[in-house]
């Protein structure tokens, strides 16, 4: 049975919990970052050991294989350089046409400034979809910066530490994104409000759609850029089904994500 000191210990733990839970969000965030900082040596150790393993793996790859891979990469690099040149020309032309038309609506698009980050951890709790990346405030990270991979949108930075940042993945209730469904007529705009469940991170729900006549499975969904938090035009995925109307008069549709959120190793952060 419990004795008086046990009740005192229980009271103390309860008091600590109450104090910590009632802290202002900013202070709690700072304490979280400070405690998370305790794990930095372990994250560093993991990073260097993975690098060592990768280097050891590279050392045993035959020279002929490396030369072959180098050739393939050289070729694809040439293609991408040409495409980048073409895209830049289109971009300049677009800018020029905007100036000629005195287009004032919205801010002009600029070329993406991207920073590569390595994924160092995932959320230990099963009820959140977040990851940790190895870039922090010293690398210029800020909250709400867009995180993406070549396949498409991944999420947004939700908390920034000195050397690491937390990314809320798309499908997380804390990462709502305005999205547009590309259709033949007008694009239908909605909001990615959340995922479809804790087990499946490949499907998200696109809600608040007003017109469902033009929607059919397989249509491309991209970020719309509405709201200013995320740039427009980043691929999100494809509609996976026909839209269904829900109680409040709006419709929603499930979207199959282009990016595989379960196998993220490196991501790109879209810098301002």
């Amino acid at each position: 049975m419990l004795k008086k000191p046990h009740y005192i210990a229980f009271g103390l733990v309860g008091l600590v919990t109450l104090i910590v839970l009632s802290l202002p969000q900013h202070t709690a965030g700072q304490i979280k970052l400070a405690i998370g900082g305790l794990f930095l040596p372990l994250f560093g150790l993991s990073k260097s050991s993975q690098q060592l393993i990768r280097e050891a793996g590279n050392a045993v790859v035959p020279r002929s294989e490396l030369i072959r891979q180098n050739g393939v990469l050289h070729q694809s690099n040439e293609v991408y350089r040409l495409r980048a040149m073409q895209a830049e020309a289109v971009f300049r032309e677009n800018e020029h046409l905007r100036q000629l038309l005195s287009w004032r609506q919205g801010t002009p698009q600029s070329l993406w400034n991207l920073k590569l980050a390595r994924v160092v951890g995932q959320d230990p709790a099963n009820w959140w979809h977040t990851i940790q990346i190895d870039l922090g405030s010293r690398d210029g990270m800020q909250t709400n910066l867009t995180v993406l991979v070549p396949e498409g949108f991944v999420g947004r930075i939700s908390a920034v530490g000195l050397t690491t940042s937390q990314v809320a993945l798309i499908g997380n209730p804390n990462c709502k994104v305005s999205a547009i469904v590309a259709s033949d007529k007008t694009g239908e705009i909605g909001v990615i409000t959340g995922g479809t469940g804790p087990l499946d991170s490949s499907l998200v729900t696109l809600s608040y759609l007003s017109n469902t006549n033009n929607l059919k499975p397989g249509q491309i969904v991209r970020t719309s850029g509405e709201g200013g938090l995320t740039r427009g035009g980043i691929a999100i995925g494809q509609t996976a089904e026909n839209a269904r109307t829900v109680e409040l008069g709006y419709a929603e549709v499930r979207v199959k994500l282009s990016a595989n959120l379960n196998s993220l190793e490196e991501v790109w952060v879209l810098m301002p």
């Binding site: 049975m1 802290l23 304490i31 405690i35």
Partner: protein, 183 residues
């Protein structure tokens, strides 16, 4: 149980939380990440005292929350409550039995996430829960039970390896030996 063992348990909780964050093999295989803290709390409840349990709940819980999107402090109270419940009945628990360890670990691993989720929901957070959470709950319970058994095995072995044990004295004393003879 001495100070060294208590430090080892707290260190194990920190490394365990870090492993939960970085090792995703189990998550990819079964769709749920196992939590190492409830098994450690059960071990602490059966082998240490409430002060160590409190330190373990506070440090482990805060570390878990700091690497997660949880509100800071949400995991602390559920961990301590579960360990206190075990501690209050530890005289009646057959703690050397595999079955008892497994059941206690499974129950603790199932109760702690439920209490944490209730706390989260009461603070107007919207965690990702659904029917799939039931599967995750079962996986966490079974996995936690097995981890509890492993915890007892590892820490009892460490305890034996790192601590002196008093030699069991027999009741035989040479100076009190009764020498019987014919005379």
């Amino acid at each position: 149980m001495n100070l060294l063992n208590s430090i080892l348990i707290i260190l194990a909780s920190l490394i365990g939380v870090y492993m939960e964050c970085t090792f995703n093999g189990f998550r990819h295989l079964f769709g749920a990440q196992l939590d190492v803290l409830p098994p450690l709390m059960v071990y602490a409840a059966l082998r240490t005292n409430p002060a160590i349990m409190a330190i373990l709940a506070v440090t482990g819980g805060l570390c878990f929350d700091s690497l997660s999107a949880n509100l800071l402090g949400v995991s602390t109270l559920p961990l301590y409550l579960v360990s206190l419940a075990v501690y209050s009945r530890r005289g009646l628990i057959l703690q050397e039995q595999f079955y008892a360890r497994f059941v206690l670990g499974a129950a603790a691993s199932a109760i702690v996430p439920v209490l944490s989720l209730l706390l989260l929901l009461s603070t107007r957070q919207s965690p990702i829960i659904g029917w799939g959470s039931l599967w995750q709950w079962v996986v966490m319970g079974v996995g936690g039970g097995l981890m509890t058994v492993a915890c007892f095995w590892i820490f009892d072995w460490l305890n034996g390896a790192l601590n002196y044990h008093p030699v069991a004295q027999s009741s035989f004393r040479q100076d009190r030996e009764i020498a019987r003879g014919r005379n």
